[in-house]
Symmetry: C2
Subunit: 197 residues, 2 copies
DNA sequence: GTCTATAAAAGGATAGAC
DNA sequence: GTCTATCCTTTTATAGAC
């Protein structure tokens, strides 16, 4: 199909779909709402993407990719492991400041259909053993705290993800709904999380 | 209404609704599926609880209560703060081993409708300042690590919640889908999380 | 490629018999 | 209290004109 012949480009639709899907999830999102946001008609959605499911798949794969930051780049730099770790935390904190709905979106939809994972990992080209082996060697060398490397990764991600995914809960319970203060706290996490390791 | 006149008790329906709602969430859950699981007819669901929304509210309030463990009990015991903290971690680990869908259920539904929080906190009688003040005094006394008490609580809960909420993701990525090993790891967290503090 | 109008399906809710 | 049958609304998906 010729791209020049498309007036409302796929990109416009995908932007709208991304916003609605990540905020509401597959089950709650409505095709009508996506069409409205894209400034087009419902029928046109089905013209570009045959079904809600197919549109969702596109959006979700892109979101899943975001969630697996390219930490491999950092690993090859001539810096020590603590700097790599600091960089990884920074990537997540920045990502979630920009896209706060991402964590709960990924978690919920994977829980809804875990079988989806296999295809995603293949398509996105994820290779966890790279980072695990790197951390293992650095731990053995005494550069990082003594800990199972998988547990190290899991702890870092836990500390990055939950404060964002559980934001309404946490900001209400612990910050008395002071959204400014909580937002600042989340940004500062770039440094405070690192103190643990 | 007379309880003796009920053959299929509310409890049976609530058990079924709890299982379906916590696993699939409000939007994905189907009244038909809840009825099937309870071994009854769809119409009977509406007889006991007028609507899906009302049935969901009952289930969700009960789930929300579970999520706010009664740590106040522990605080009044003549034990040091580190023991209280260890007890709090144990409560969460045990709860999530028993009800693994709880964390994502709470997080997702609160994100879907944050306004719900106010009513819930009133009904359940939550008072966060109790535990915050207790931890603050213990930190000042040097019993616990130097840290904003709210951040301390948030970190503990993050480390307890994410490994469960993100289980399919984490067990596939980092444990190569070895469910037995991952389950054992989750149980062991009762001790490993505590090492951080 | 984009629209209006409409079909088709799914799912929550009610009527009425027993 | 429990069931079968049915209604009604919502929402996805398609037909067909321009």
């Amino acid at each position: 199909m010729d791209n020049a012949s498309k007036n409302v480009s796929e990109a416009v639709i995908l932007d709208a779909a991304r916003a609605i899907f990540t905020e509401k999830g597959m089950a709650t999102a409505r095709m009508q709402e996506i069409a409205d946001r894209a400034g087009i008609n419902k029928a046109l959605l089905h013209y570009y993407f045959r079904s809600k499911e197919k549109l969702f798949d596109r959006v979700f794969q892109e979101a899943f990719q975001q969630f697996w930051p390219k930490v491999e780049m950092h690993m090859n730099q001539p810096v020590d492991a603590r700097t790599v770790l600091r960089g990884m935390i920074g990537i997540y904190v920045d990502l979630f400041v920009e896209r706060p709905y991402l964590p709960d979106f990924i978690i919920s939809e994977i829980n809804r259909d875990p079988a989806r994972l296999e295809g995603l990992m293949r398509d996105v080209g994820v290779n966890p053993s790279l980072i695990i082996n790197y951390l293992a060697s650095q731990i053995k060398a005494g550069v990082l705290v003594e800990m199972d490397p998988r547990e190290l990764i899991l702890n870092v991600i836990s500390l990055c993800v939950f404060p964002v995914a559980g934001r309404p809960l946490v900001s209400r319970f612990l910050w008395q709904n002071d959204q400014e203060a909580y937002q600042q706290f989340l940004i500062n996490r770039k440094y405070t999380i690192f103190f643990f390791f």
